[in-house]
């Protein structure tokens, strides 16, 4: 037998069991038989380190199992207040980003045409000399583009940009600016409020996919499990798309795209009219009562909502809303208005209406209600919020006008994530602009860089975060390095590169600390007055007695919100509303290079690795489409192709396409599929803004769908028997349910 490392260890294990049989160490070790299953042969000691994963929506506290210097497993940190020991489906993928074969090994210099992705390795000394020279020469025309990451990272980036007269912008493909504006207007806070689902009795939600990608889906899922324990709450969801949240709601009501705000105000009118509102109706309506919302009577907005009669179980819209209002009156919570619902031209109205409904329900700051964001515990606070579309349109024109001549990018991919119409890729192709990337992987933006200075992976790095939303009280998350980079990798901490460059260029005094670690330590010890080691062991610092407070609602809040009402504008033409949505695990494309994110079946369709378009099953058949047909989706700004998935739940007239496909630069896991089965839906969107917020109206596009004359097999978990796996058994034999009366 060839002696490999593995079977050497196996033989070594058997030899060890022989030693134990001689009664040595009997107190500590169990006598093993070599015919026992191999799992019985446990060797080595493990250590679990608390750290933090900022790459998933809302962030999560994690514990990493480390054996002999290698990270082996990630689990949720049971002490961490948001995810409470649980984890997102993408949590373990952080290991793949650590040990990924396509990590940029060390600093590199472009040696081909811009965007061709040709680089040659250079030394760190040369790389840092080039970096410093670029900053010294062009610092006043510098744009630093990073991921949205409040805390020490944002403070270092802001200080660095300020010191040289440049600018720092945070980028997020999924632009939620309208929701943030609504929160700021109504609650006066920069952070998102937390929805206390766990203690609510009835939950009504509007268009936000909070069980999949909106807010903090892991924390909200933990709460959802509690919501369904004991008292068994009731959940009604309004959404034009059959999302994962819609699938889990007790009742899903398909509504017209962009009508979420109308549904929320119709409920508000019903609550006031029925005398069920717990909040200060007189203040909220300027003393007008229900009359302030007369335009939103359920029968008046039924035409705008377009809820199919069959979804109402024989009731009229008014009757259904009356029944729902009577349930909401006791322990009711309204949620949503952000994410997809906030990404129509009227997104600010949708978000405001959903938030304002909670004031009417009288639940703001109450258990089971809307919990205002607490104050930020550290300086610099929440000042790294994603920049809205309007800023990015300005960036493209700044570059064209010569006002920006140095772009430094870190873990952000605006070239991929912004609609092509914004013109950023074209602007960056101008060789007069120097581009430096500190991302650890090649992506569409990094591929255009002149100089690569790869940052360390998350599990190799210091970091901190202010989770958004916080769970009703202050949380400061701390990320510590749990392993060292492998010997064939030579990354460097990007925040430390910035701090060192500032010092080298005579701007050290403008920076908040000498190192990233020192700033985090100072945040913990000096600002929070906490013990550094203890904070590392716990994965952060939190104060459960630091609930946020919101000012009393503006006088006439509901009337003000009603004044924002406007139908959602449609960009482009075509018979379908194009609804992009963040992929459940690939998200906005940031995880496209991670095989676990790609191979995790989409919860609704079970599709993996590909880009598909969800079309209503009956409508698709009438169009002569079959699953796997390649169709051309023509939006306001060009076309993409995708595979048809005939979805029994998707409303007719909706074309829902997951984000995250169509990467053309970087790892083969992201790029080895052709355009028929992997495409970037963001590229064809109009560069249209949400009214009054400057955010990208990524939900507000129309498209047409035409067969491309080709078809491919759809890779998915579900089998040949439509939607079931266990042989030929009827679904009713396998999946059982009870009606509410029979439960408990």
């Amino acid at each position: 037998m060839k002696l490999t490392r593995r079977n050497f260890l196996a033989w070594a294990g058997i030899a060890a069991t022989g030693a134990i049989a001689c009664d040595l160490f009997d107190d500590e070790l169990r006598v093993q038989s070599p015919v026992d299953i191999p799992e019985d042969l446990v060797s080595g000691r493990d250590n679990w380190y608390a750290t933090y994963d900022a790459s998933v929506p809302g962030g999560q506290g994690i514990l990493v199992r480390v054996m002999e210097g290698r990270a082996k497993k990630v689990r949720g940190n049971p002490r961490f207040p948001t995810n409470q020991g649980k984890q997102s489906p993408a949590a373990d993928a952080i290991l793949q980003s650590l040990y990924h074969p396509d990590r940029i090994a060390g600093p590199m210099l472009r040696n081909g045409p811009r965007g061709a992705g040709q680089f040659r390795p250079i030394s760190w000394e040369e790389a840092l000399n080039r970096f410093n020279a670029a900053v010294a020469e062009r610092g006043d025309r510098m744009l630093l583009i990073t991921e949205p990451r409040p805390g020490a990272f944002a403070r270092i980036c802001d200080s660095f940009a300020d010191a040289f007269g440049g600018r720092h912008l945070a980028f997020d493909t999924v632009d939620d600016s309208a929701y943030r504006h609504a929160v700021k207007d109504i609650m006066g806070s920069d952070g998102q409020p937390y929805h206390d689902i766990a203690n609510a009795e009835t939950l009504v939600s509007f268009g936000s996919d909070f069980l999949s990608t909106w807010g903090n889906p892991t924390a909200y899922s933990v709460a959802y499990g509690k919501f369904r324990s004991g008292h068994r709450g009731r959940h009604v969801h309004f959404d034009p798309r059959y999302s994962m949240t819609a699938a889990n709601a007790d009742k899903w009501l398909p509504i017209a795209p962009g009508a979420e705000g109308y549904a929320a105000l119709a409920l508000a009118w019903t609550l006031i009219e029925m005398g069920l509102a717990e909040g200060d109706v007189a203040r909220l309506t300027n003393g007008q009562g229900a009359a302030a919302l007369n335009a939103f009577r359920p029968d008046a907005v039924a035409g705008a909502l377009q809820i199919p009669d069959a979804a109402l179980d024989g009731a009229t819209v008014a009757q259904f809303f009356a029944e729902l209002a009577s349930k909401l009156a006791h322990g009711g919570l309204a949620m949503g208005g952000g994410g997809a619902a906030g990404a129509y031209s009227n997104g600010r109205f949708n978000a405001s209406a959903a938030l304002a409904l909670n004031y009417l329900l009288g639940n703001v700051g109450q258990p089971g209600g809307l919990l205002p964001a607490p104050d930020t515990p550290i300086p610099g606070g929440i000042d790294a919020r994603p920049a809205p579309l309007s800023d990015w349109q300005g960036v493209a024109s700044d570059i064209a006008a010569g006002a920006t001549r140095l772009v430094i990018v870190h873990n952000a991919d605006p070239v991929y994530g912004l609609p092509a119409r914004v013109g950023l890729a074209d602007a960056l192709s101008n060789e007069a602009v120097a581009i430096i990337s500190a991302s650890p992987f090649i992506d569409e933006t990094t591929a255009m860089a002149d100089l690569l200075i790869p940052d360390r992976a998350a599990l190799e790095s210091w970091g901190d975060d202010l989770p958004d939303p916080m769970p009703g009280h202050t949380v400061y998350a701390v990320q510590q390095p749990v392993v060292n980079p492998l010997s064939d990798l030579d990354p460097r901490s990007f925040p430390d590169v910035l701090l060192n460059a500032a010092a080298d260029l005579g701007q050290g005094a403008s920076m908040p600390a000498d190192s990233h670690e020192a700033l985090i330590r100072s945040n913990i010890e000096d600002e929070l007055g906490a013990d550094f080691t203890e904070a590392l062991q716990n994965g952060g610092w939190w104060n459960e007695n630091s609930a946020g407070s919101a000012p009393p609602p503006a006088s006439g809040l509901l009337a003000n919100v009603a004044a924002l009402a406007a139908p959602a504008a449609a960009n482009g033409t075509g018979e379908f509303q194009l609804l992009p949505y963040p992929h459940h695990t690939v998200l906005d494309g940031r995880n496209a290079h991670l095989p676990w994110a790609q191979s995790t079946p989409d919860p609704i369709t079970t599709v993996v690795w590909q880009t598909w378009v969800d079309i209503n099953e009956q409508q698709g058949r009438r169009m002569g489409l079959r699953e796997g047909d390649v169709v051309q989706i023509t939006g306001p700004n060009g076309s993409i192709t995708a595979l048809v998935y005939l979805n029994p739940g998707m409303p007719p007239g909706i074309a829902a396409v997951p984000m995250g496909g169509g990467r053309r630069s970087g790892s083969a896991y992201a790029t080895d599929r052709d355009a028929r089965e992997s495409s970037n839906v963001m590229s064809i969107l109009a560069a249209a803004q949400v009214d009054g917020s400057g955010g990208l109206a990524w939900s507000g596009n129309r498209c047409s769908i035409t067969p491309a004359g080709d078809s491919m097999a759809v890779a998915k978990l579900e089998g040949d028997y439509t939607s079931r796996e266990i042989g030929e058994h009827s679904a009713e034999l396998v999946f059982k349910s009870v009606s509410e009366e029979g439960s408990h």
Binding site: E28, S43, Y99, Y224, W596, S599, P603, V734
Partner: protein, 251 residues
């Protein structure tokens, strides 16, 4: 194990946690196209009804660790057997790859290694040293993370300096990766040999009233494909429907 279908949101956190814990090879697109993807736990998605009264149903399915396991008697080499703890065990170095067990499993939770397991450069560093990497040509399946049970036992023994008795390892110290990960706590795990385990009442209910449908309405407990009398060690709790579909039209 108890699976509460009323809490499962279909989020797949269990699926990925299992793959990370158990050294499951990367499921490429081709593996799915050939219907040979490795998922020791999977979320089945069923459709009920027609638009707009439509429901996607999520159901985690894993090895049921049956007391009357159909996979066990058909194995010609005793690679799969029932151990004294009630686990349905797969001994990889006995398996000769007949796949009889796979054919005989009504739950389709056994997977065959059609390919040599392969990890790209560097990713082998994350392999769990407690779990064997299975070679080509053998069958594998959910173990209820037996390595976590063993490690829990050994650590407790090492700490106490003496052999473990039946009741010493505290619940929660040996949760399988899927149970630990599940955000909504739809998955619950425990040792039925312990009298006070949280899952025991669910088993008592189902065992005392097998096939008693009126009682099922109250406890919600049932076993998957109960009519096959495989006596699974996994109990499902029915989904609670507050707005039941008039016509399920299941497909």
């Amino acid at each position: 194990m108890v699976v509460d279908l009323d809490k499962c949101t279909g989020c797949q956190a269990c699926v990925v946690a299992c793959q990370a814990e158990n050294n499951i090879p990367i499921n490429t697109k081709d593996y799915f196209l050939q219907r040979r993807a490795y998922e020791w736990i999977r979320i089945e998605r069923y459709w009920e009804g027609e638009y707009p009264n439509v429901k996607a149903r999520f159901m985690p399915v894993l090895c049921q660790h049956c007391e009357n396991a159909p996979c066990e008697p058909v194995c010609p080499v005793y690679a799969t057997y029932h151990n004294e703890e009630g686990l349905n065990v797969q001994v990889y170095n006995r398996c000769v790859g007949t796949r009889y067990c796979i054919n005989n499993c009504p739950y389709q939770v056994r997977m065959f290694n059609y390919w040599h397991p392969n990890w790209p450069h560097r990713m082998e560093n994350q392999l769990n040293p407690d779990v064997t990497v299975r070679s080509r040509g053998i069958t594998e399946k959910c173990t209820f993370c037996v390595q976590r049970i063993r490690r829990g036992e050994i650590q407790v023994e090492a700490r106490a300096g003496q052999r473990l008795d039946d009741n010493r390892i505290a619940a929660g110290n040996y949760d399988p990766a899927c149970v630990q990960a599940c955000p909504t706590s739809a998955l619950m795990f425990g040792d039925l040999n312990e009298p006070n385990t949280a899952i025991k009442p669910y088993f008592d209910d189902v065992n005392n009233y097998p096939g008693h449908h009126e009682h099922e309405r109250e406890t919600r407990g049932y076993r998957l494909l109960e009519e096959m009398n495989t006596r699974p060690s996994v109990i499902y709790l029915k989904k609670v429907d507050q707005y039941p579909l008039a016509d399920k039209g299941a497909h």
